[in-house]
Symmetry: C2
């Protein structure tokens, strides 16, 4: 007997034998739960939360290890609990061994720091009957006197802390000053920290940065917990439209995740979240709006306009972010309803504005934004590529984690593959999916319409065909890893969307593929794909390999640049103003291009 | 048999026969409960809340009239409930017939309006596939285009409302603009309203003002509910020092009271609190700090400095005020730990800065601030006069309400008096107390040390002497109204404090009483006192009557001026910078002057 187990938010689901623990199920499905004691129940690290379904009764090991609060909330030790039915299981971030390996890496941050917040040491004379100035005025006078910084105001939250802090710290403090406002008060010496966030539909990348040196001190990739409300942004917008109260919950989910991320990042460098005196957040327009609790209805209805385009500075506390009490979150500008601040950040990081010739820049994700630089003129489109390349909606798809197949070669009837961590294979991540699709097409298993033909590894199940990458036998009895005909259709839609965007941009500019001097591929998925495979199936233009540049999470890099440099913020605003936007669906030949783009090759 | 009943927050307490309803008790003690049906229980207006003690069981009338929530919270109909023990009873504002009559009246607001918030009508072209600008940028462009107002930002709370509002209102809205920030969004036509608040230790005066005309549309006087935490500000500061969490509760109490006041004021003129787009609040430094949740410890410890002196602009929502979501509260500057924004507001309203010669200005309250204008130079002191003149700590004292004795004359053995509303006498309000003290002193019943001598109306109770103003017989069996020896001591302390302040100011300026050209008396109490009586006991300088000017609640007037005029705000800041402050206790001859000031006459 088997149960269907769905692990959230890692996005891995499948059937597991009823006599396996949840830990075994997780392993089979490629979910890397922490497990230091080998399943003995002594380390207590493999905590999961049972959201739906039933499992074996709590045993004595779990009763000892879990708190009563945890038990009340449905927490279990995965190594002790057996599913008794189909189940939905939440895996908290702390129970995962390997965060998504790829989502935080990106271009180096090379910029002279011009931080928005500067730290000043101020020493005051204490008040006396001869000098009865209020604490705030005393502080501001000293700041002007000692640092020539005049005309400042003090954030109310900082003001509330000022009088006791001055007395506790013997009238010597560090002041965090942002554009004539005191946003933080600390002991001296103090080091102003910043938080940069790339808020993706699926993944969140967070970076802790030293504002004075510009150095990235720590980084962390986590899942966007809003996935529970829908895997793509349209699903989430629809959720808000049908149940407006969910907008608050979705906002709170992201804020909680960011607060947790900030706390762990700070813990890594022995700092406290209150030392974070500035944050920069980028995301697509929908993520940006949901994060700020701005209305999203108009994003989903023609003509799809954002509530706001310009860059914003918002008090972090107004959003529930637990960093310095007076700190701001800076949000880079949005270009259009589906071309957001993350695209601007990518353009900033890749310095596309200063390119020469014709350059194509793509940020491949659940939504893919493409910008064409044509001798100084930039035009962008947005393609709803969907989460297929992130492993979702693909039968044996999974996110890039240990045991996921990342490269595939078909040699005759034999399959050669490589998994992340060289672990036994448990599924396919994006680059593996792309490789498989290309190999099947090159070998003629798939025709250009994506129809699956005959091959020794092709079999029919339930009337539908599938290609067996790893069979049950090769898996020592565990489930096979296959690519189904339905998977191929999903992937055709995804690659077709991206190809359409590129073609519409070229057409709008009167250019052809051959005119492209360089292709910049950004995004976690884009970093690890085999460009030949992407060209092979016709997702990317067929060009010499040396014209491609894979830059990793450029949006995250752009966020960090804007975090440490006011000039970069100004540049981001200029970019947003310069980029022309093409609404894909309104391009004259859209339908025709899209139909052609679905073909492989 | 009798019970001791304490009515809060009106501050009236006394013994009532056990066979009287709470309504009868309230009447006896001068608490004006609403009672439209004559005690039949049918109007349901005399609701009170039993905070301590027991009363008769709920009867069927109460069960029908009160909601289950009210019953759970201890609400009773005063006309139906009989006390069964000593009791503490809260009277909600709605159950009182007459608010404090005097606390809102003041000088007329005569100033050309230069409001901080201006309303603009803006009409927009809706977005289309040819014009995909974001809603915010579209709005800002129209504002610049139609009204030449450029470079504005939009408050996040307003931004959250913008996209749906534009669509609901067919792309025509009213914008409330404050110093390049859009703080409100309304239907058009719209009328920007303002709220001015004088937050006193005992009383709160609130005014609803039309920002464009400067006209006061409605006003309301309520009690400061923080009284439950101590009648004077030192008691409240000590409460916060011993139990810091109380600061949040005290702040919330005032905010709740202001929200209620704003809602009733708006209801009077058929408006909604969300139409209030700006507020100004003045109060003494302690009330100011408690309202902003600023630390108050340093106010209570030498050298008694405020956390902040300068004027502040704070988002109303950050304080919990339910007015327009983006509105600010402007707080006038404080001068010193015990000379606050209310004093600045009084000086602003009385235009003392533009006076000639030598002028003394007093705002008499639980704390009394005195300013001496000496040919252009202003010096202020603060005197802890206590709440005796507000009727507190005086055996038969009460606040100015119907039935309180406000004037007293002693003609031989006979007493002549006048009560507010010409109702049967129930107690003494401030002006009556002052009159009585003066009359007893002039008649020789009190000597200059305040010792009570013999008189047909003086009697001894429990070894202490008291002067009977209205006897039990004259009251038809209800309790007598008397002035006790202890009352006299309380009043000597109060008048001594004020006299000391005046004398120290004169001495500091090298002046004597005769040099004073004018005395301005502000404050609710000061409006109704008989100046001759105040001179008679030696509280005010002995000067010709025509040199005195009673101006009512000048602090409230100053708050209204600052609400409607940016020039007046600048003037207030200038005043705060000009006024010199003398810490009373540090004046060389303070002890000597204070000892002398205690004498009557």
């Amino acid at each position: 007997m088997e149960h269907h187990i769905d692990f959230e938010p890692v996005g891995r689901r499948g059937h597991c034998p009823a006599d396996q623990t949840l830990l075994d199920c997780a392993r089979d499905l490629g979910v890397d739960l922490v497990n230091l004691c080998g399943g003995a129940g002594s380390c207590g690290r493999c905590k999961v939360q049972l959201l739906a379904g039933t499992a074996s009764e709590l045993n004595s090991v779990e009763r000892t290890t879990l708190s009563s609060d945890e038990i009340a909330e449905g927490y279990r030790l995965a190594c002790q609990a057996y599913p008794l039915s189909d189940a939905r299981v939440r895996v908290p971030p702390d129970s995962l061994t390997t965060p998504q390996r790829t989502q935080v890496d990106g271009l180096e941050v090379r910029v002279r720091p011009e931080p928005p917040v500067r730290a000043f040491r101020v020493r005051l004379e204490p008040p006396s009957l001869e000098d009865l100035r209020a604490d705030a005025e005393r502080l501001l006078a000293a700041l002007e006197d000692q640092h020539d910084v005049a005309g400042c105001t003090i954030d109310l939250a900082v003001l509330r802390d000022l009088s006791p802090q001055l007395r506790e710290r013997s009238w010597e403090v560090g002041l965090m000053v942002r554009d004539k406002e005191i946003v933080g008060l600390t002991a001296w010496p103090s080091r102003p920290l910043g938080l940069a966030v790339d808020l993706g539909t699926t993944k969140i990348a967070a970076y802790l940065v030293d504002l004075e040196s510009g150095e990235t001190l720590a980084s962390r990739g986590i899942m966007n917990p809003q996935i529970a409300y829908g895997e793509d942004l349209i699903a989430r917008i629809e959720r808000v439209m049908t149940t407006p109260a969910e907008a608050d919950r979705m906002q709170a989910l992201v804020v909680d995740a960011l607060n947790e991320a900030a706390a762990s990042l700070c813990a890594e460098v022995d700092a406290a979240p209150a030392e974070i005196v500035e944050a920069v957040l980028v995301g697509n327009t929908a993520m940006h709006h949901l994060f700020l609790r701005l209305p999203v209805e108009q994003l989903a209805l023609s003509p799809y306009v954002p509530a706001v385009g310009a860059a914003l500075d918002v008090k972090a506390r107004q959003l529930g972010l637990c960093i310095a009490p007076g700190a701001y979150v800076h949000l880079l500008p949005n270009i259009a309803g589906f071309v957001g601040a993350d695209h601007v950040a990518m353009l900033l990081a890749t310095e596309l504005r200063d390119a020469e010739g014709v350059v194509l820049a793509l940020d491949i994700g659940t939504n893919t934004e493409v910008c064409l630089f044509n001798h100084g003129k930039m035009t962008s489109v947005s393609c709803a590529s969907g989460p297929a390349f992130e492993g979702a909606h693909i039968t044996h798809g999974m996110r890039a984690a240990n045991g996921s197949i990342e490269n595939v070669r078909l040699v005759g009837d034999r399959i050669e593959f490589k998994t992340i961590g060289d672990d036994p294979p448990v599924g396919l991540c994006g680059s593996g999916i792309l490789d498989a699709l290309d190999q099947l097409y090159q070998a003629g298993v798939l025709d250009s319409k994506g129809r699956m033909g005959d091959h020794p590894r092709v079999r029919a199940t339930d009337g539908s065909r599938e290609f067996v990458l790893v069979s049950e036998e090769e898996q020592a009895g565990r489930p096979a890893i296959t690519i189904t005909q339905k998977d191929v259709r999903e992937l055709q839609l995804a690659k077709g969307a991206i190809h359409t965007g590129i073609q519409v941009l070229l057409e709008t500019n009167g250019l052809s593929e051959d005119d492209i001097d360089q292709v910049i591929i950004a995004g976690a998925f884009g970093t690890y794909i085999d460009v030949s495979s992407a060209m092979g199936i016709g997702m990317l233009p067929r060009l010499p390999l040396e014209r491609f540049r894979q830059v990793g999470n450029a949006a995250g890099t752009g966020a960090r640049l804007a975090l440490v440099s006011l000039s970069k913020r100004a540049e981001a605003q200029a970019i947003a103003g310069q980029v022309g936007y093409v609404e894909l669906a309104t391009a004259p030949s859209f339908m025709q291009i899209f139909a052609q783009s679905m073909y492989l090759g």
